[in-house]
């Protein structure tokens, strides 16, 4: 038992650090932004360092309920980094309204997400998922006096509870028909004949998880929650939990349901294509940039699921690379949205207000153009590469029709991405002034770094990425 504790340092650090942050906020008061923010950032950095220190370890702890491996490590690093950035950008957004709960909740959410990414048992899976979700519900309604924010929180909570119900029902079916909650044990039973109970279990578990990754048809909450939640929280929702949920889904599908390919593959293919197409079509009419990015995230999850549908190691490598590039792009795009403020400092979310942005803020518009082209997957921007990898995996797994359908649907998605660029570059200036936001050096630095990385520079990192994602994906096979 004590030996096991040495292997879950990241989780322990997050737990203790989260509690310390909570205490600091309680005793020093919400005014001491610098202190509790620093505490949360240090916690996340230390946890990330612990993950790096555990690199190469591949084992399970606590009687096989939690795994310590490269796959979880890869996901955790991404989750912690995204959480780190989301804490970093918050004080400027909330200005006077920053409270210590924000970094605390994000740290606890990160803890839950880490557990999701490492779960090897249906019970640990559920504990991690709920730890993350509960923190997320509160975060969504963080601006408690704002009607949209509270509405987002409530909506997220109700629909999230519904999804948890479905997931739990699926879990109970899987447990009932296999007699175990352990992934390896379930996989063993899946190897034999599939009875109707198991199939229902698979369907319900995937439906519950589909809600978490916001795959169509379980995506309805996404645009509303993304729009209503405060922008830093939306940034968080679009990045870290997406990584955790996709990683979790990958592990469940490959590890627990691996042998029953025929049963889950068609579900994943349906989710993938529906997400790509609906994510693209739904985005076209949007007038709010956060809603648009919500549809874009649905669309991108669809592409990740194509890699998962392949069910091969190559596919999982594609998914992991996709997650990394997606997180960088999403963080960058939301940081740009965060910088859009009118003269009074009010957040601008309407897309028509972006008109002529390239003349007011050329640097910001250029960065946004990079993010949009990258999300659309147009080479030479780096967003092309993960799309290539998932399509390659699908083709090599003999899913050519899926790849063709997916890639053709990606052209629909390109339409609204380039429509944003048209707005910024081709249209005349809108009436809304967007003055340069002073003093946001951190935000500018993150935007610049991610935009540069997503331009051609990213290609130089392919060999490193390939090694990392291959070693992470190899764990599952």
């Amino acid at each position: 038992m004590t030996a096991d504790l040495a292997l879950i340092w990241p989780e322990l650090i997050l737990t203790i650090g989260g509690l310390i942050t909570l205490m600091l906020g309680t005793f020093l008061g919400d005014r001491q932004v610098g202190i509790y923010q620093l505490s949360a950032l240090l916690t996340l950095a230390a946890a990330a360092a612990a993950v790096v220190a555990l690199f190469g370890v591949e084992t399970t702890v606590f009687s096989g309920t939690l795994s310590v491996d490269g796959f979880g490590g890869f996901a955790k690093l991404l989750i912690y980094t995204a959480s780190f950035v989301c804490i970093l950008i918050a004080p400027r957004f909330f200005s006077g309204g920053m409270r210590a709960e924000y970094p605390t909740l994000i740290v606890f959410a990160a803890l839950g997400m880490g557990i999701m990414a490492s779960a090897r048992d249906l019970m640990t899976l559920y504990v991690g998922l709920e730890l993350n979700s509960l923190a997320a519900y509160v975060l969504a309604s963080f601006m408690r006096t704002d009607e949209r924010s509270t509405e987002a929180g409530l909506k997220y909570f109700v629909l999230g509870a519904l999804a948890s119900g479905m997931l739990l029902y699926g879990i109970s079916l899987l447990y009932g028909f296999t007699g175990t909650t352990d992934f390896a044990g379930i996989a063993k039973s899946m190897g034999g004949e599939l009875n109707i109970g198991l199939i229902f279990g698979i369907v319900f578990v995937l439906a519950g998880l589909g809600f978490k990754v916001s795959a169509v048809p379980f995506h309805m909450w996404t645009p509303d929650v993304y729009e209503g939640a405060p922008t830093p929280v939306t940034t968080f929702f679009a990045s870290a939990p997406k990584v955790a949920a996709v990683a979790l889904m990958t592990r469940v599908v490959i590890d627990a349901m691996g042998p029953a390919v025929g049963a889950w593959q068609q579900i994943i293919i349906f989710l993938a294509l529906a997400s790509i197409i609906l994510g693209a079509v739904g985005a076209i009419g949007q007038k709010n940039i956060k809603r648009l990015l919500a549809y874009s995230s649905i669309n991108n999850v669809g592409f990740m699921l194509i890699g998962l549908a392949a069910g091969t190691q190559q596919g999982v490598e594609g998914v992991l690379t996709y997650l990394l590039v997606y997180v960088v792009t999403t963080l960058g795009a939301f940081l740009v949205v965060l910088q859009l403020r009118d003269a009074e400092g009010n957040q601008i979310e309407s897309i028509p207000a972006l008109a002529g942005l390239s003349q007011r803020r050329p640097g910001l518009a250029a960065a946004m153009a990079v993010f949009m082209f990258s999300l659309a997957g147009i080479p030479p921007l780096f967003g092309f590469w993960p799309k290539y990898l998932v399509f390659e995996a699908a083709v090599n797994a003999n899913l050519v029709p899926l790849a063709v359908a997916g890639i053709v649907a990606s052209v629909i998605g390109a339409f609204y991405y380039i429509a944003i660029i048209k707005m910024m570059y081709f249209d005349d200036k809108s009436d809304t002034e967007i003055p340069a936001g002073g003093g946001a050096i951190v935000e500018d630095a993150v935007i610049t770094a991610s935009a540069l990385w997503l331009s051609v520079i990213g290609y130089l990192f392919i060999p490193v990425l390939a090694v990392l994602s291959a070693s992470a994906a190899a764990v599952l096979f």
Binding site: S358, Q359, F373, I378, P379, P380, F384, Y388, F391, E392, V395, N396, V400, A403, V404, I407, V408, S410, V411, A414, F415, I418, A419, I421, K422, Y425, F426, Y459, L460, I462, P463, A466
Partner: protein, 517 residues
Amino acid sequence: MSGFPILSLMLAVPLVGAIACLFVGDKMSRFVALGATLATFVLGCILWANFDIGGAQWQFTERADLFGRFQWALGIDGMALMLIMLSVFLMPLCILASWDAIKSRVGLYMAMFLIMEVVMIGVFMAQDLLLFYIFFEAGLIPMYFIIGIWGGANRKYAAFKFFLYTLLGSVLMLIAMIVMIAEAGTTDIPTLLNYDFPAGMQTWLWLAFFASLAVKMPMWPVHTWLPDAHVQAPTAGSMILAGVLLKLGAYGFLRFMMPMFPDASAQLMWLVFGLSMVAVVYTSLVALVQSDMKKLIAYSSVAHMAIVTAGLFAFNQQGIEGALIIMLSHGVVSAALFFCVGVIYDRLHTREIDRYGGLAVNMPAYALFFMLFTMASIGLPGTSGFVGEFLSLLGIYEASSVVAFVCTTGIILGAAYMLYLYRRVVFGELTKDDVKAMPDLNAREWTIMVPLAAVALWMGVYPESFLAPMRGDVTTVVARLAPAKPAGDAHLAAGKPKPAAAQGETAHGSAHAGGAK
């Protein structure tokens, strides 16, 4: 020169120039862009001078394992060399052509043009399939900006149409490339050129490539983006679009589809011939009734490109060489014609043909150059157009006399619409006051016209300079296609060797057809 990475340098110079243009301000950026394009042109000349005709197929090769899964592999053969020369030759002229016409956001404009140059020559240099695709697709981005920001009234629609149309085609090619890489286990283009894909697979791969390249060409019926893009693009945008971007499609046919999928190419020859025949006649007729000068030239481009595709799929030396010369000739001549339109557009700000007339009186130098390029477009002997059209029709005739017959009508129609355009714009009474006030060419416009005219004549009088580097490559492709080549209906019989003057006797008939315009 061996060992010195001249190809990478040619990509780096405009790229550095592009980044510089974004930061040096509007006035300086013009000079930076001109300097960068001229430097690239000089490098191109050095490249041509050092190219060993008849030497190794791939020269100046560079290889660096930068990306893990695929390589930074560059190298050129004769075809690529000529198309690179075309690009680097047109680029400084495009910059000069936009010197005064572009007034807003000049730095961004120049940067986009330089990026365009990097991408275009990158396409011709790439020796790795994925690298090729990246360059090929990357061209969409700068062109989207060029049309969308500096274009005409309906520029946004045209930019969207251009982007989405070409993207939709290209993505299918990407899937085909993934299949090819999985099948052959390499992304190296020279290796793939000699890999025999299973016949059944070839058909699908061919169709996927065709979806992309036919849009780029553009072939009828997927050509409709081109007139919109041309009409809305700024003058230099049209020059580069017609001059080089349209050649990417034909280059793809010749570099990928024909040598990599010879069986499918032979099997689907009828499709290409059919579409080409329709395109030649249909788009020529459409061109005849246009009232917008740029649209007219855009439709004539589609017709010319159709002769290129027909020539390529003739599967013989003359047809392919002719197609290549048409590509080069059309690159120079159509760019020049778009510039001719741009010259008068800058003065009167309309492209309506009816608004002009009688320009020969007050703009004699302009009328002279416009005449030269009109003739070159028609294919008058002595100009570049003649050589290409004659050779390709000769090749097509060997493959199918029906196709040759239909394609030749396109040349007659071409003469009709070009001369009709010329008559309405340049001849006639000089009645309109604003037209009377138009001054003749200025020094800058002379600087652009003279090199274009010189090259059009050079190619017409001594095409061997351009044919020689490509001959070996065409022979390689023809040899690769030979096993799959269907029998033509020409039934050529070698005549008895007669002393002197007997050369080309067998092709006498079609020589008249080509010359009788």
